[in-house]
């Protein structure tokens, strides 16, 4: 091993986060599940785009906004699931692999950030590919109307993916063992995609008056899926889609542009807070 000592070089100093991200990206891209999920996502996006064009709305025009509104739905189901599953696969990985990685001269938080970054590039690449292909179909058929909103929607989809990678990472750390973390991930998916909104809807039907409306607005911030959904629909369709309630919401948040900003900032908090929490858990946890 004398050769190693001689050849040691300080010139090559790539950040450990980048190195871990690259490795995570390679592992994720080669994972069968990633390929399957990315494929399903891409195909469904394409089907929606194609159906939007082929169905030919009333005057033979299915523009970006109508098509992408259907895509919102797909995204809300698939992206959180994809992100949670991949985060769990990665963070609840094999014990021996994890121990070897965390025994390297790298801080635990760097390992976490590197993994999330790698996963994000993988999942984001899959989503961007889906958006480009499906967007291309619509673009080719109906022109560039609404493309700005479509791009904004794509960015918010990426944000949604990132949120659930971070939430998934945190959940895995809290859950501890591997089988338990998978159960936890599925539970979280049900919670954020379905249960939370159902509970809120149930409460909303019992409450009346202005305070009920305000309470309903505030509940949006408790669920990143709702944040991304509302922000996407505002940038995609137009802010009138939610009717008088939408007007009230926008006034509540301070106008259309400010509203999207507020929603996006809140969504970014949904990245930052799970990361901070995960950082705290990781610091005081046995690997």
């Amino acid at each position: 091993m004398k050769t190693a000592k001689r050849a040691r070089t300080d010139a090559v100093a790539t950040s450990p986060i980048v190195l871990i991200a690259q490795r995570e990206l390679t592992i994720t891209v080669r994972n069968r599940w990633t390929v399957i999920m990315a494929g399903v996502f891409g195909v469904l996006m394409l089907v929606i785009a194609w159906a939007g064009v082929a169905a030919e709305g009333f005057d033979g025009m299915a523009d970006f906004t109508r098509t992408s509104a259907s895509m919102v739905n797909l995204v809300l189901y698939v992206v959180p699931l994809m992100a949670l599953v991949l985060a769990t696969l990665s963070f609840a990985g094999d014990r021996g692999t994890t121990e070897l990685l965390f025994s390297q001269p790298v801080s635990r938080t760097e390992v976490m950030l590197g993994k999330i970054a790698g996963l994000f590039v993988a999942i984001g690449g899959a989503m961007v590919a889906g958006f480009i292909v499906s967007g291309g179909v619509v673009l080719f058929q109906t022109g560039t109307h609404g493309i700005g909103g479509f791009i904004a929607f794509a960015v918010m989809t990426l944000l949604l993916g990132l949120i659930f990678l971070c939430v998934g990472a945190l959940a895995t750390m809290l859950a501890g063992r591997r089988p338990r973390s998978f159960g936890f991930a599925i539970l979280l998916w049900f919670h954020f995609v379905l249960f939370y909104d159902l509970v809120v809807l149930g409460l909303a039907s019992q409450l009346r008056g202005q305070s009920a409306v305000t309470a309903l607005f505030l509940t949006l911030f408790g669920n990143p899926v709702d944040l991304v959904r509302v922000a996407s629909l505002i940038v995609l369709d137009n802010e009138t889609i939610f009717g008088a309630t939408g007007a009230a919401l926008l006034r509540f948040l301070g106008g259309p542009e400010v509203s999207v900003l507020v929603l996006v900032v809140a969504a970014i908090l949904w990245v930052a807070l799970p990361l901070l929490w995960a950082h705290a858990v990781l610091r005081s946890q046995d690997i």
């Binding site: 909303a204 039907s205 009920a212 949006l220 009717g243 939408g246």
Partner: protein
């Protein structure tokens, strides 16, 4: 005075060529009768020529710019040749008609005053039986203002308001106040507050008008027995708001792309016994909004691509919807209250619903299972409108799926017992939304 004045020669004047102008001129002169005044020498003021005219005279005016603030206080026909401009001083109305049976045709009329309370208009009409034909009104507060005048015809005018003003500071395109038996036809109105404003005006006939980029396309109240035919209300904050009126008939109108917050294609409030037939209501925030309007009949309408097709209050009772096509609306129906008592089919014929998932085994074109119009989500939306924020959420779709699968989740009774399968066959033989 019950007979309407003839409306010959009132094609919408989009391309006003010289030859056609001359032709119109002679027709108009013939119709008006009286003394034919030759074209004036240059420099003679229009005011003095009108002052010099006697009742029944026709005053021909040549192209050029003429001083406005005219008052027609005796029965004359003021006919423009080559679209002469009548320019107001910026105070009061550019033309005021106080005598009955006058005609103003073929002018560009501009620059009236700025006072909403003084009814400053391009043409202010305070008398009966006048005809306002093929004028172009621009830079005006109100376009044509009918104030206690019956039996007037406003046909083929183009009215453009002051776009630079706030909507609230503009006047209406055509403002009809306390004036029955008027005909408003073939006008194009844009950039005003309300396109056509009707108040206390029974027996008004509104036909083939195009109104776009205004606040309310049609703002309408306390006017019974009126007919709307073949009008287009597009790209307004709201299409038509019809209130406190009886015996309304709407046919072949288009209400499209009216998309401000909680904007509607058609709002009907306290309008009992309305007949709405063969209208297109497309791409509005809310297609039809019904409050306290009973016993209406909606047939052969296309209600498509609205965020919400129908919003009905519980007090909108006993309306009948048959052979309409509800296509690709985000939500078909929100009921504010418990139920509407609407009839969704008549004589075994219901409506076409693009969201219908039933089947037609016997092939008679009518679905074999009833169309449940609302799901639980729509029901909740009726109870608390803020629930709409959960539009497109998986939870709302789960509720929809659950209410389809489990009848116990069916909280509303709105259903169409005879949903139609084929929307193509629905309208065979009907000219949809075209000017008749």
């Amino acid at each position: 005075m019950t007979a309407l004045p003839p409306t010959a020669g009132t094609h919408p004047g989009r391309s006003a060529g010289m030859r056609r102008e001359c032709c119109m001129l002679f027709v108009a002169a013939f119709l008006v009768g009286g003394v034919y005044q030759p074209l004036p020498a240059a420099g003679q003021s229009l005011i003095s020529r009108i002052a010099a005219a006697r009742p029944g005279d026709t005053v021909l005016v040549r192209g050029g710019v003429w001083e406005g603030d005219l008052v027609l206080d005796q029965r004359i026909a003021l006919i423009g040749v080559g679209m002469p401009v009548i320019r107001g001083s910026g105070n009061g109305s550019t033309i005021t008609i106080t005598a009955d049976s006058c005609t103003v045709a073929g002018f560009v009329i501009e620059r009236c005053g700025r006072m909403l309370v003084h009814e400053d208009a391009g043409i202010l009409v305070r008398s009966k039986g006048n005809r306002i034909l093929r004028n172009r009104l621009r830079d005006i507060l109100f376009g044509v203002y009918l104030f206690r005048g019956r039996g007037n015809t406003i046909d083929g005018n183009e009215i453009t308001g002051r776009r630079h003003l706030d909507v609230g500071q503009r006047g209406s395109g055509i403002h009809v106040y306390d004036s029955p038996w008027n005909v408003i036809a073939g006008n194009t109105v844009t950039d005003v507050r309300d396109g056509i404003y009707i108040q206390n005006a029974n027996h008004t006939h509104i036909e083939r008008n195009n109104v776009h980029h205004v606040r309310y396309g049609l703002h309408y109240m306390y006017a019974d027995s009126n007919t709307f035919l073949g009008n287009r209300f597009e790209d307004n904050a709201a299409g038509a708001a019809v209130m406190y009126s009886r015996g309304i008939v709407m046919r072949h109108n288009v209400f499209a792309r009216n998309r401000a917050f909680s904007a509607f294609g058609v709002l009907l409030q306290d309008c009992h016994g309305l007949v709405a037939d063969s209208n297109i209501i497309d791409d509005n925030a809310i297609g039809i909004f019904l409050e306290n309007s009973r016993h209406g009949r909606f047939r052969h309408n296309i209600i498509a691509r609205n965020d919400l097709a129908l919003q009905m209050f519980q007090n909108a009772d006993g309306n009948t919807f048959t052979e309409n096509a509800f296509i690709d609306n985000l939500s078909p129906l929100v009921v504010v209250g418990k139920r509407t008592g609407s009839r969704w089919s008549d004589g075994g014929r219901g409506n076409y619903w693009s969201g219908y998932e039933g089947y037609d085994l016997d092939g008679d074109g009518v679905g074999d299972v009833p169309m449940r119009i609302q799901n639980v989500f729509h029901y909740l939306e009726g109870r608390n409108s803020a629930v709409r924020l959960f539009l497109y959420s998986p939870a709302s779709q789960a509720l929809a799926a659950a209410s389809a699968a489990f009848p116990i989740m069916q909280l509303t009774e709105e259903s169409d017992p005879h949903p139609l399968m084929d929307r193509e066959r629905l309208f065979t033989g009907h000219a949809m939304g075209r000017n008749p």
